[in-house]
Symmetry: C3
Subunit: 108 residues, 3 copies
């Protein structure tokens, strides 16, 4: 058993969850916030047999679009006297996915 931990954009999360459920995968969604854009996104936990990990990654990738977003980098905003740098275009989207090993899986 592996635990797939996927961080997806809020615009894509409904499609990801619906497709996972339709394919019979168990999934749990947690609301989260990105460090750089400080915008809401979602973290999804999917416990899945090792031989199905590939299928889950393809499913997630198929639902997530990459978008360009204009961003005023918050960490760059200084005091009043500083020149505010121009906004930068940041690619956001797709999904960031971590696959962890599960030592034990139980329904208690």
């Amino acid at each position: 058993m592996k635990l797939v931990l996927a961080i997806v954009q809020d615009q894509d999360v409904q499609a990801v969850m619906a497709n996972l459920t339709r394919e019979g995968f168990g999934a749990t969604k947690l609301a989260s916030t990105g460090g750089f854009l400080r915008e809401g996104n979602s973290t999804i936990l999917i416990g899945v047999e090792e031989e199905k990990v590939e299928q889950v990654l393809r499913l997630i990738g198929g639902c997530c679009r990459t978008r360009k977003q204009l961003v005023q980098p918050i960490s760059a905003v200084g005091g009043l006297g500083d020149l505010i740098p121009p906004p930068i275009e940041v690619p956001v989207g797709g999904a960031t996915v971590f696959v962890l090993h599960v030592e034990r899986f139980e329904k208690v």
Copy 2:
């Protein structure tokens, strides 16, 4: 050190958290949502020594009840023309538990 990640029903989470604390276990609760029922549930993180994992699993299992819930499967709801299938009875409850290995545990 192991990280026990338990997904429990909201009706059971208070009893689980209270019993974990009373037994001296550290625990952190995160609000979550199930993929199939799309209802709120809770994901609990419990960092615990390997020899105590069994005790934590029994404690969680002891607090969680299985209930039957009538469900109109959302993924089955089609367009207006489709026949809406009868609701199905779904066993929910108990807890879904993943045990992960912790390489390093620190209080910084």
Copy 3:
């Protein structure tokens, strides 16, 4: 790749997130609740290369202060007849950090 999972007090989480982003680390924040104090805190996920784990732990430790908090232990509050024990002083703060091994990291 390792997944650093840090539980920090809400008073410290903004500083931790800002410093992580400034140093170029990816981070995702989830709202959480402590088992003992039942107060809000934050759980931060940081996917990071193994050789940078030490730097991330120092960064987190540098932002988190330990505070003393007077607590009426909830688990000790009994029925009306029980004598309510005096509040106890509990050290809270710093961060509780778990480092997990990531088998696979993908941007899909």
